[in-house]
């Protein structure tokens, strides 16, 4: 499968998964159940806002895998902005795990191949975010 085909398959799977109205609620329920620290981070947060941010992040992650100009720098920037949430970089892996678990539950056609594609798209995005969060010098380069 070419990257274009994998991305197209990711979009189809995302569409099927999000056709389930509970997709975002199930994801956050799964993610917050992981640890009290994660629950504390999101305590008092407007969930509707959080869901919109998630949709937006997923969109930019697909752009980053597709090498859309500016998308990788933007993902790194998002990683830096997550510092104010006092998250541990390891939380990104937990976030990815919960997202893939929810996708598997909500996409009726989810299989090993779809899982590998989700892991590729989301994995690339969180690596960019983690690199942005980890390094104070990781601001977008003008080169």
């Amino acid at each position: 499968m070419t990257r274009t085909e994998r991305l197209a398959e990711f979009h189809r799977s995302l569409e099927r998964a999000t056709a389930e109205p509970e997709f975002l609620d199930r994801f956050y329920k799964s993610f917050m159940a992981i640890s009290p620290k994660i629950q504390r981070v999101f305590q008092g947060t407007d969930m509707a806002r959080l869901k919109r941010k998630l949709k937006s992040s997923l969109h930019v992650m697909t752009l980053a895998v597709d090498d859309a100009p500016g998308a990788d720098d933007y993902m790194r920037f998002l990683g830096k902005t997550h510092r104010r949430l006092n998250l541990d970089p390891a939380h990104f892996d937990l976030w990815k795990g919960s997202l893939l678990k929810t996708a598997a539950e909500c996409d009726p056609e989810f299989d090993d191949r779809t899982q590998a594609i989700w892991a590729e798209v989301i994995g690339n995005g969180i690596e960019l975010m983690r690199s942005g969060m980890a390094s104070r010098d990781s601001r977008t380069s003008p080169e």
Partner: protein
């Protein structure tokens, strides 16, 4: 020459006054795109970038003032997003001037990505709130900013 960002209704937040200000941001990004493409040189590009930063700060101040007036509940998060962007752009500008780098499409596309995501995500949230609180979508008068920012 094709524009970096073409304004369309998907970028409208539904409040003319704010849309007019966002259009200026879009225009400045398009100007920067043109200056880079036509090799106007780093000084000319930096002048546009500075204008963009100046304008952005004023625009953010307007938005934040409205958020305080309307007691927007997500004010702190939105303000933090503004501060993070300004800090990032100033850091990039510092690198350009102190490490003799050139303004590139990479920076430009980062700004495009930030602006479009911010408008379509965060700004549309506050505009929905403002409108629900009674703010008028249209005033029937020319936006104040266009009178002082040609």
């Amino acid at each position: 020459m094709s524009e970096l960002i073409a304004w369309d209704d998907s970028l409208s937040v539904g409040i003319d006054e704010i849309d007019e200000q966002h259009k200026v941001l879009v225009r400045l990004l398009n100007d920067l795109n043109q200056a880079i493409k036509e090799h106007h040189g780093n000084e000319a590009c930096l002048a546009i970038l500075d204008r963009l930063v100046d304008y952005t700060r004023i625009h953010f101040a307007v938005e934040e003032a409205l958020m305080r007036i309307f007691e927007y509940p997500d004010y702190e998060n939105h303000k933090a997003e503004h501060e993070e962007l300004v800090e990032e752009v100033l850091a990039m500008r510092h690198e350009i001037t102190h490490e003799e780098r050139r303004i590139s499409f990479k920076l430009l596309h980062f700004l495009k990505m930030w602006l479009t995501q911010h408008i379509m995500d965060s700004d549309k949230e506050y505009s929905e709130y403002f409108l629900a609180q009674g703010m008028k979508s249209k005033t029937g008068k020319r936006a104040w900013f266009s009178r002082i920012w040609s």
